[in-house]
């Protein structure tokens, strides 16, 4: 398997305070696989994700190499980078409730994004969106397109982001804690959609999560971050069965209770799937 994305010596720091947030990260994303990034709050997971998309605040500086299909994303111009965003690299953010412009209809926003990347007419866009929304089990998609974000639930908005990703067909999806803001039931549903997304698109994924139970379900490989540094990496199985770093051991033991609860909610089929 070849790596689709290769990050080398990524360093991120705050130019105002000179505080180094991520000293030197190196990792790869294998084509078609899912890489999970776990770690405590403030360990630099979101900053790393945004650095790949070059979307950090202008006060944050970054150096290093981010190789994606023969190009170093870190040296691309803003314009070239913009063409990659959405179409090739898709970010799904944590809080669906605040991810959409509150005074813009969902359908209007989707159309705005899609006309940016495709030469589609209004009808074609509508069709594609509705198909994608149906595939993530959103009911009455054409009605949802005529709603404002505040009229929908967090789980629905999260699924709309996934639907948009399905239409955009990116090569890499970066999901920054996509299930953290949801209740357990919606978490389960959204997670199922992520699994399906990988199956249908065959895309690679970077999946940030606090929840090791979730990570176990979806990831092939795991990175564990602590204070900006990667303290452990390996296949999901290896990391869960035999955590080497003491911090990972701590995470695995404390998250056990949570993941058990999660399994309980996922009931029969999830338990079966695990076997």
């Amino acid at each position: 398997m070849t790596s689709l994305l290769e990050v080398r010596n990524l360093k991120i720091w705050d130019s105002r305070t000179e505080k180094i947030i991520v000293p030197a990260s190196t990792f790869q994303l294998t084509k078609g696989s899912c890489l999970a990034i776990v770690g405590e709050s403030g360990s630099g997971k979101s900053v790393t994700c945004k650095a790949i998309m070059r979307l950090n605040n202008s006060s944050l500086q970054q150096t290093g190499e981010i190789w994606f299909k023969g190009e170093n994303l870190n040296t691309l111009s803003e314009k070239q980078m913009r063409k990659k965003r959405g179409k090739q690299l898709c970010l799904i953010i944590q809080n669906g409730m605040s991810a959409f412009d509150p005074s813009c209809l969902i359908g209007v926003f989707a159309r705005e994004v899609l006309t940016q990347h495709f030469d589609w007419g209004r009808k074609k866009i509508e069709e594609e969106m509705i198909n994608a929304m149906e595939s993530v089990l959103l009911q009455e998609p054409s009605k949802i397109m005529r709603k404002y974000p505040h009229q929908l639930s967090g789980g629905m908005l999260q699924r709309i982001m996934i639907a948009l990703a399905i239409v955009l067909k990116p090569e890499i999806i970066i999901a920054d804690e996509p299930t953290t803001a949801l209740d357990v039931i919606s978490q389960y549903e959204v997670l199922e959609q992520f699994k399906k997304l990988r199956e249908t698109l065959g895309c690679s994924m970077i999946f940030v999560s606090h929840d090791l139970g979730v990570v176990k379900k979806i990831a092939d490989e795991v990175l564990v971050m602590k204070d900006g540094e990667i303290v452990e990496r390996g296949s999901t199985k290896a990391v869960f069965l035999a955590p080497k770093h003491e911090y990972t051991r701590f995470l695995v033991s404390t998250r056990l209770a949570v993941s058990e609860h999660f399994n309980h909610v996922m009931k029969g089929d999830a338990v079966l799937a695990e076997r």
Binding site: G86, I93, F100, P102, S103, V113, Q116
Partner: protein, 310 residues
């Protein structure tokens, strides 16, 4: 939405009543006896107590206080604000033309202020922390903190006296508007441009901006989204700007001899012409109440969250 609008307008009525009552009380708290003022103004040489009593009766001041208020408010509703103590003319005939003149100045100034504040606010927010932002904020702080009468005098001296470009006072041609509008704009844009700027900045750091960027939307389109959301917040502030400017023209009108409400009220205060003062305060208070209601309605109409809940 329609129900909300009706409710909001109905709510303005008791507010107007309270405000008018307060106006009435405040004016009547004055230690001066209106009857005495009237007689003095008419140049009566010797003011006897019979004469005073007779005048009081003419003015309806022998009635109980509440009755006086009711009489006054009913008359006001018919645009009858009584007669000037000084000239004996109906207050309405003095007030109406002055009100129109002030309104012209206010509307034009508000318009200029709003356009300028939005432009500068957006410009500064997009260049946050850069030289442009810092210098514009510095200049606006400097201009806002200057007393407007002083600024007015300075500009009249320079543009009208020294360069002889613009008229010093009065109103007539369009040129008469230039200096007063500039001075009102300079004194007030600073405040409103800050409102726009901070609400832009607030929006700039929202998640939806990050997500829109992540979707590959060009920066221009994203800015349009941000501006729309920021203006929603600013609209109510802008609405309240109109009555504030309406009330603040007193200073400017006196500097430029603008025949408006401001000049009229100052003359009325000096001449202790109570009916005019009362009417002036009432008009201003009513403007505040009405624009307050208007700003709530516009806000509800622009904000889909509110629009649907109502």
């Amino acid at each position: 939405m329609a129900i909300y609008m009706i409710n909001r307008i109905l709510l303005a009525i008791p507010m107007l009543l309270v405000v008018s009552f307060l106006t009435f009380i405040l004016i009547n708290l004055s230690p001066l006896d209106p009857a005495e003022v009237v007689l003095q103004a008419q140049g009566v040489p010797v003011i006897t107590s019979e004469l005073l009593a007779q005048t009081r009766q003419e003015l309806g001041m022998d009635k109980p206080f509440l009755m006086q208020y009711v009489d006054w408010i009913i008359a006001c509703l018919q645009f009858d604000f009584g007669h000037s103590y000084v000239t004996g003319q109906p207050v309405w005939s003095l007030l109406a033309p002055a009100f129109v003149n002030t309104l012209k100045l206010t509307v034009i100034s508000s318009f200029v202020i709003i356009i300028l504040s939005v432009l500068l606010g957006v410009l500064c927010a997009l260049n946050e922390g850069k030289l442009l932002d810092q210098s514009l904020r510095g200049i606006s702080f400097f201009l806002t903190s200057m007393p407007s009468y002083w600024l007015a005098a300075l500009m009249v001296w320079y543009f009208s006296v020294k360069l002889d470009l613009l008229p010093t006072s009065g109103m007539g041609s369009l040129q008469h508007y230039i200096l007063p509008v500039i001075i009102i704009t300079v004194s007030y844009s600073g405040i409103y441009f800050r409102v726009v700027r901070s609400s832009m900045l607030n929006n700039l750091h929202q998640d939806y901006v990050l997500y829109s960027r992540a979707c590959g939307l060009p920066e221009r389109r994203i800015i349009l989204h941000i501006v729309r959301n920021s203006l929603q917040v600013s609209v109510s502030v802008f609405c309240m700007a109109v009555p504030i400017i309406l009330g603040s023209t007193v200073v400017i009108e006196n500097v430029f001899a603008w025949p408006g409400l401001g000049s009229l009220s100052v003359r009325a205060i000096l001449g202790r012409d109570f009916p005019i003062i009362q009417a002036y305060v009432l008009i201003l208070a009513a403007a505040f109440v009405l624009f307050n209601a208007l700003s709530d309605i516009i806000n509800a109409w622009m904000n889909p969250k509110l629009r649907n809940d109502l």
